[in-house]
Symmetry: C2
Subunit: 383 residues, 2 copies
């Protein structure tokens, strides 16, 4: 048997799967785990995918994606994000936001380069950075999970190739203020590095305004933006997203795309095009429901043993626990004894006991019951 | 504007797209270019995908793929490939064979390791090896494109992590004899390295028998096998394939999968399951047609200015040209002046003038016309 030599030893296991394997899950468990919305795709998108299945959807598309989808994306970017991107040189359709991220890293880095990510981080960004042989440099955000500019700026070295921001944030829900994103974007321009802006949760804001850093970069020269259909259009299983980037990267991005996936799944591309053209505000119609669920969390978790910064975006809260116990263990007890799944802070590289709560997948009844169980469990475990 | 730093500078552009961008393509061009079959998926598979779209196909599946698909794959492997693989520890569903390959490389290598690939090689394997920061060591095959064992064995060093074989081969069509595959497989076992066997074209053999190296590795300890639905089931756009590997790699493979793609596209997984269960011999029913087309090539290209080893598999011929002109230029003239697309040998790392001819996508009429144009063009250019 060959020895196992791989780079994967240095990264954690797919955290959600690992957690769920370690425990026995009660039948009526309520999941505040995986970050998925409660709604599915627009009917029109399902229909478009279904038609494509029969017609031409079994063929490869261009590596960058079908032209009409890229054109629809360009229009959406102009309309919603105030980004002027050309369908022919700035846009690539990918098999989801994660592939967009690793495509980007493979394009802009060499082995040994470093990438700045903000902590608590989206674990996948950390894993991808390690897998491509680069060093993730993590910088802690402040107590409200907002970037501390000076802390970021001081860790940049000649090896740094990009600063990554996620707003609205996974795992904290923080929506970064315009001036913060603008300063990070300008700093990247000044330092001749890239700003990678993951905007997967762009449509999930509550009393806040989503800002796209590429809109500050008039000539689109140093900003790379990642978007996904998984959350906004309720189609994670379709594996479809896109990345917007400076045109000088186009040929290089194509090489990586061809190597990893050739093209995004064709039927999903047709679904995405239809979704953009017929239901651009799909997510919006579900926000009132989500806001009710959100308020159940805000009211219910106003308890003394946790500190819950009230953030304004995505569908996560990231609660800090007043305890010394490792949150991995707490999360396990919460599942087995209290019937509620949360994700421990460790997997997001957070150095203090904490839990990520995802509320996107719940209705009001489930939310009430979930919060009840969570509060009962936390009071018992931490009290 | 940031400088461009990336590792992608060292690899070629997605070759087919690059070639087609460089020329003006006549309207009635006949393509012997991209390696796609002329047929689409079984009706049952389209129906299954269509049903999944509506029911649950918009949700993530387990990272490794839906269990019932992995079970169907295990049965197929047992029945057709004589491989005993467990759905729970040896099989992962991927977004196509390319993703299976790069997942594998990321799992078994560290930066700076080397991978042995046989020349002429499938360009994607070369590109993937470079992208993960490893060194592709290429070893020329013999004049019939069969591996020369001693040449392979002598380039193995402590940095070598795997030998890659593709049988039936892309780009040559060679079907490797059993004893050759067996010796390579045994050698890998003796050297404690992996044998990566790409069997994308397993169902396309003409008067030859396909052999799966993992069937020689009784305990599945050092063989990694890659399969695809793209060719056998006519569904390249669905992006669906799978990889079979030693169970000691399972957790590590999962990490990579989670990072790159989370899971393969869900509707495509249901299509694949249905294809395996209802139409396992889908490709077989098209082989008689393909054989007629194949014979048109064999007969038509019996001309003095080319050397065409008659190989027995996939749907490629790799012809050597008696000339000193670069084949990239010849391929361009063939498109623009003679209306026929071929892929130049350079992109497969072949050091002599050569062209890959793909005949999988043609009917008899197109094949006759395509060969006519090709012969006319080659006689003119080389004569």
């Amino acid at each position: 048997m060959p020895k196992f030599y791989g780079r994967t030893h240095e990264i954690q296991e797919a955290p959600i799967q690992k957690l769920l394997i370690e425990v026995s899950i009660p039948k009526d468990v309520i999941s505040l785990g995986q970050g998925v919305p409660f709604f599915g795709p627009p009917k029109e998108a399902i229909l478009a995918a279904s038609e494509a299945l029969n017609k031409h959807g079994y063929k490869y598309t261009e590596d960058a994606g079908i032209l009409s989808l890229r054109e629809a994306i360009a229009k959406k970017l102009h309309r919603e994000n105030h980004i002027n991107a050309s369908p022919d040189g700035n846009i690539m359709v990918t098999a989801g936001g994660n592939q967009a991220f690793i495509n980007t890293l493979m394009t802009i880095t060499n082995t040994g380069d470093s990438i700045i990510i903000l902590s608590p981080y989206y674990f996948n960004h950390f894993m991808a950075t390690k897998l491509v042989g680069c060093n993730p440099i993590t910088v802690e955000t402040d107590s409200d999970y907002i970037p501390r500019l000076e802390d970021i700026f001081e860790v940049v070295t000649p090896k740094t190739k990009a600063i990554v921001t996620i707003s609205p944030n996974n795992p904290t829900g923080a929506v970064y203020p315009k001036h913060i994103l603008k300063e990070i974007n300008k700093f990247c321009s000044d330092m001749n590095i890239y700003h990678i802006s993951d905007e997967t949760y762009e449509h999930f804001v509550f009393g806040a305004i989503h800002q796209s850093p590429a809109s500050f970069d008039k000539c689109l020269e140093h900003t790379i933006s990642i978007y996904s259909f998984s959350k906004s259009f309720g189609m994670p299983g379709y594996r479809i997203g896109y990345v917007v980037f400076p045109s000088h990267l186009y040929n290089e991005m194509l090489k990586v795309q061809d190597t990893i996936s050739i093209c995004a799944p064709t039927p999903s591309q047709y679904a995405a095009e239809s979704a953009l053209n017929s239901c651009p505000s799909h997510a919006k119609s579900f926000l009132p429901t989500m806001e009710k669920v959100r308020n159940i969390f805000i009211e219910g978790l106003n308890i003394s043993c946790v500190d819950m910064p009230i953030t304004n975006g995505s569908f996560y809260f990231f609660i800090k626990l007043h305890t010394n116990k490792p949150s991995w263990e707490i999360a396990k007890v919460l599942i087995e004894k209290y019937g509620v799944i949360t994700i421990p802070g460790e997997v997001f590289g957070f150095p203090y006991p904490a839990l990520r709560l995802s509320y996107g997948n719940l209705n009001e009844r489930e939310a009430k019951e979930g919060v009840k169980r969570l509060v009962k469990g936390l009071n018992k475990i931490l009290g």
